[in-house]
Point group: C2
Chain length 422, copies 2
Amino acid sequence: MATTTITSVGDTCRSAKAASRALATLDSERKDAALEGIAAALQKHVVEILEANARDRDAARDSGLSAALVDRLTLDEARIDAIVGAVRRIAELPDPVGEVTEGFRLPNGLDVRKLRVPLGVVAVVYEARPGVTIDAAALCLKSGNAVVLRGSAAAAHSGAVLASVAIDAAGRAGLPEGSIAFLSGGGHEQLAELATQTGIVDLIIPRGGEDLKTALEEVATVPVIYAAAGNCHVFVDRSADLEDARAIVVNAKLQRPGVCNAAETLLVHAGVADTFLPGMLRTLHDAGVTLHADERARAAAAGVPVVAATDEDWDREYLGLDLAVAVVDSLGQAIEHINAHGSGHSEAIVTRDTVSARAFELGVDAACVYVNASTRFTDGGEFGMGAEIGNSTQKLHARGPIGLRELCTFKYLVEGAGQIRP
Amino acid sequence: MATTTITSVGDTCRSAKAASRALATLDSERKDAALEGIAAALQKHVVEILEANARDRDAARDSGLSAALVDRLTLDEARIDAIVGAVRRIAELPDPVGEVTEGFRLPNGLDVRKLRVPLGVVAVVYEARPGVTIDAAALCLKSGNAVVLRGSAAAAHSGAVLASVAIDAAGRAGLPEGSIAFLSGGGHEQLAELATQTGIVDLIIPRGGEDLKTALEEVATVPVIYAAAGNCHVFVDRSADLEDARAIVVNAKLQRPGVCNAAETLLVHAGVADTFLPGMLRTLHDAGVTLHADERARAAAAGVPVVAATDEDWDREYLGLDLAVAVVDSLGQAIEHINAHGSGHSEAIVTRDTVSARAFELGVDAACVYVNASTRFTDGGEFGMGAEIGNSTQKLHARGPIGLRELCTFKYLVEGAGQIRP
């Protein structure tokens, strides 16, 4: 296995930049072979990976990390299998590099193609989940980028072993040295150094909580795409199929409450509040959800225990078993509420009315707008992109799942026969 | 004509945000009618526009502005005609909003469409050229965005009259109030206020020099796309058609030296330096170009007066009658020089060799890579996008000309029949 030598952040990034020049011109077969090499190497080193992970978990328990965080940190054979499977799925995806997205001939005969090319060097800064080490590396390599990985101290052992296995396998597959780099967590100074490698690092993607985001916002001069919070809504329209609505709300809230595409607020049209809410709230309450209801939702609760919603509840991403509930008078009011309080992630309407569906689609300003489906589908895997590297709620470059294409920029190739501008 | 009332930057931007919600759902016919209204109104108010421009020019001359800057400031009937023509061409372009760029059905039956939607509020900060007022407004409206215009003090009168004509015409055509806003130049504090309207202004596009860029970089929390400098190269390969090469170099350097897609460095393969350089340098010298040549280019100059290039010359954007000239031993050396010193704008190779052409296209990291054509074609108009709002040398979101599509983001619309995630 590769030995780790201490090098500066600047050296690591410059080495990644040099590697990125070669990676950008590599054909898909070579990249896919490297990914298969990484997958096979992970399977071969399962025991070492699990040992390293056990050390991280012991340290986490000793330092009093919450059970939820320890779970995020945990690898077992099934999870490693899932990581390996994701690498192989990424290898099977079409290569985004070289894809011509537009092409035309100008009146003067110049042939113009706009085609996808790698960004160059992508740095991924993440917390806890050690599997991100491999996900991020695989997505970056497949899209022709060199990747600089910076994990958290909590997953230091797992991350180091996973990265080492990947670096080693990539090298054996003939990828240029520096294609994958791993910085073991070195505090805010290291982060600041990474975030100011202007002209060398082309993009930073943080995967972590608000603290990480704030820390980056303060120092970054390199472009950052924030995989931001999801304050997602389900709006049950007056014309909704209430059975569908019930199933969608349960799914959006409960199928996995700790993720960014889970619902945090339920909006119900006044015309169906009395019919829909009692049963719906009972189901949610029985599933352990604390319901933060506005006055009209409380009035319709029909004895189901709820608490009074505060103004802050409309803006909260609970990431747990809490749900804000409000009754609105109209579709317009629902859209206004969502645009005022939502984080622009995933928003759903349940309706049988085509006019409502279209107005919701046009009016809601979010990455993903759902009609009669759960918000939980916002995911690179679900959207057929392979494993995603995050979800963007910003509007520039990448909005929604960040997959292979979003890890590319493009260039215009213009071919002529001596054309000059008159 | 609309009267101008003093409102705060924050109020102006919030009003633009409200307008942007309505603009985003407006159909093309309505937007195109507003653009035609603006074009007609400009023609009707030519006299007032010219009067205001005369005041700006007088003030500029009094304050000792250079002739080049006064020229940038100047409007005459021909230039106003050109502005009007650009507005009408933008109206005729296809509406980018609603364009489906991808669409697919997921295995679970969900129908996913990725479609272009307006960004929301775009602020354009510009210097000198008063015509940008109208260009920027037309491009933003056509792409469904509200626009906040901030001109420079030097063009205060022209900008105010042009904006006023446009605001008035847009209102008469039924666009929501706040769709176009004009901030008369109010110094750095105003710029800082504009650049920190997080969540309200969705994008700032500066069109100006390095001072403006630096001022924004220091304060902006809102996303910025810098219409950056162009240090463009022409590389004459060993196999080049030297007649084509001569014409392309002359065009790239001399057709309009003051713009970002003009050539600033000429690289010549050592194999043709002695054949090509004497005549080429003579032509450039006779046209008034100061030639900053490296040692080998000086040796090949055959008596044409040149000066010795310094290390700084390779990184300079002269924007005038200067050209750096170097001889390189190989295509690889040329690519390396360009990637080290270029600004990633527009780079050209002149060659008859398909292997060289392909290696240059793959290896050069720039927005636009030309084979056997002048760098001067990097332009939204030339690329068929209509008037451009700038040229981006960054890699995220927009690279190259920023036209209508680049003023959009997108969203995913996902339609189902009650799907939930298993």
